[in-house]
């Protein structure tokens, strides 16, 4: 027995290492795309001049200067904290509501029009309302994130439950699983198929909305810094903050979403032949 276990541990480790390497390798494609973007940016800079568009190098230098400044770190971390807590809030609330609606058609019928209404109200209106309710605080930003990303997460979770394989529920029941057990081991796992893309989308929305809400509600953070840059007509700083917020999103996405998704999708990758993964 121990020998088999050892072997399986080794295999699992090798499998995981392989996946990490492959993942890093796919980074080259991302780098190439970024270089392409930088080239277009540079062309724009040369056409319109530094007051409209600073060069990529200049922007990176400004971002580097911000990275060396502890105050800028406080500003960036504030937005990060707001976006991540807002995202966590929407993931829990949207996921729970979606799962309930997936299991209960009555709830679904009730919730669908509400989702349409929420989708129809422009985010800017929510920002105004949240400002009136909460002022320029974390709660304002989190509320706007919650409202903006809720429909996506809700639909992702509900869809996963609705389209689940009922045969598996039946199978689990035949082997003596109660409703809770069936939900945890069979239902929840199947939701991830549609819930994860929705969560990835929601995370991106969280960052964008956080910056937007900060700017409009004058609540500090990266949005506040952008507002300052606008007042000073400091295009290099503005672009540097954009780069930083995109960077933060990428870091969070690759540390929070992708590892979990990779673990959950192991069986899907097993079905793909070598060479055309991802």
């Amino acid at each position: 027995m121990p020998k088999i276990l050892q072997q399986s541990l080794f295999e699992r480790l090798a499998d995981r290492t392989g996946r990490v390497l492959e993942f890093l390798w796919s980074g080259w494609a991302g780098l190439a795309a970024l270089c392409l973007l930088a080239a277009v940016w540079q062309a724009g800079h040369e056409a319109y001049g530094p007051f409209i568009l600073t060069s990529p190098v200049e922007t990176l230098r400004a971002a580097g200067a911000l990275a060396a400044d502890p105050d800028a770190w406080t500003v960036g971390l504030k937005t990060l904290q707001r976006a991540v807590t807002g995202f966590a809030l929407v993931a829990v609330v949207g996921g729970a509501l979606g799962i309930v609606a997936g299991y209960s058609p009555a709830t679904m019928r009730l919730a669908s029009p509400l989702v349409t209404v929420i989708l129809g109200v422009p985010p800017i209106a929510w920002i105004v309302l949240a400002m009136i309710w909460f002022g320029g605080s974390d709660a304002t930003v989190r509320t706007v994130i919650l409202v903006a990303a809720l429909p996506v997460v809700f639909l992702g979770a509900a869809r996963g439950i609705v389209t689940r394989d009922r045969g598996l529920d039946r199978m689990a029941r035949a082997f003596g699983a109660g409703p809770v057990r069936r939900f945890v081991s069979v239902g929840l796992r199947q939701t991830t198929t549609t819930l994860f893309p929705a969560l990835a989308l929601a995370l991106g929305t969280s960052f964008k909305v956080a910056v937007m809400a900060e700017l409009l509600a004058n609540a500090g953070g990266i949005g506040g810094a952008l507002a300052d840059a606008r007042i000073n007509l400091d295009i290099a700083n503005a672009l540097a903050w954009v780069v930083i917020s995109v960077g933060l999103l990428i870091v969070v996405e690759y540390t929070l979403i992708y590892p979990v998704k990779g673990e959950l999708d192991r069986w899907r990758r097993a079905a793909q032949p070598w060479g055309i993964k991802r």
Partner: protein
Amino acid sequence: MASGRTAMGDKTVIALNLKGVGHAYLGRTVLDGIDLAIAEGEIVALVGPSGCGKSTLAHIAADLIEARAGRIDRGYRRHAMIFQEPSLLPWATAEGNVAFSLKLAGVPRRERAGRIVETAERVSLLPEDLKKFPVELSGGMKQRVAIARALAVRPDFVYFDEPFTALDVALRRRMQDLVKETCAGGQLSGLFITHDLQEAARLADRIAVLDSHGKGVLGVRIVPSARPGWDDTAVFDWVQSALKHDPLFRHIHDVDERQIA
């Protein structure tokens, strides 16, 4: 049903007793007035044309769907089920799928690995296949994983819903022998759904024929399996003569008749 009763005798313990069971899907009656009793240690084959409600009956008996009418008494301790489709968890390896039933049965973690290896061997699954995900397995392998999942929990009653249809002839025979062995050794009883009379005669103690519209069990025949020399030729001869002379089996292959009617 009288014939079934006398065959079992009066002192036998009933593992499963269905009385007047009926079911309807969206108002359309698919089963009506089904009576069937299975004694402990007995395997009853259930045959009938496609769509007559065999799977539905098994699901009702196993408490997966609720019957519209009738009474179900279960005298067994633990049942397991092999479904018509393998119904494997796609995200778990073959091993993980077998472990799933063991976990639900409350088998301690330490014992699971041993049980999995042992059961996999019984259904001729190779150790390397155990590490594969269902998408990497052939149809027959998937079905064997499903069989292993059911047998691993050491049930005393098994619902077999056409379990061997995806297997080739040789493997099919092996699985049939496996069922026979398991039955002879332990106290296994079962309801074995099949449309293959040959298979039914090979495995079962009795064969019940379901009406093609699910309106009751048309009749039950005792398979003379205890008879000395009950080998393949004997099974074949019995099935041939049953098909020719027994009016009960006349309609079980008439799928078309049902569709035209």
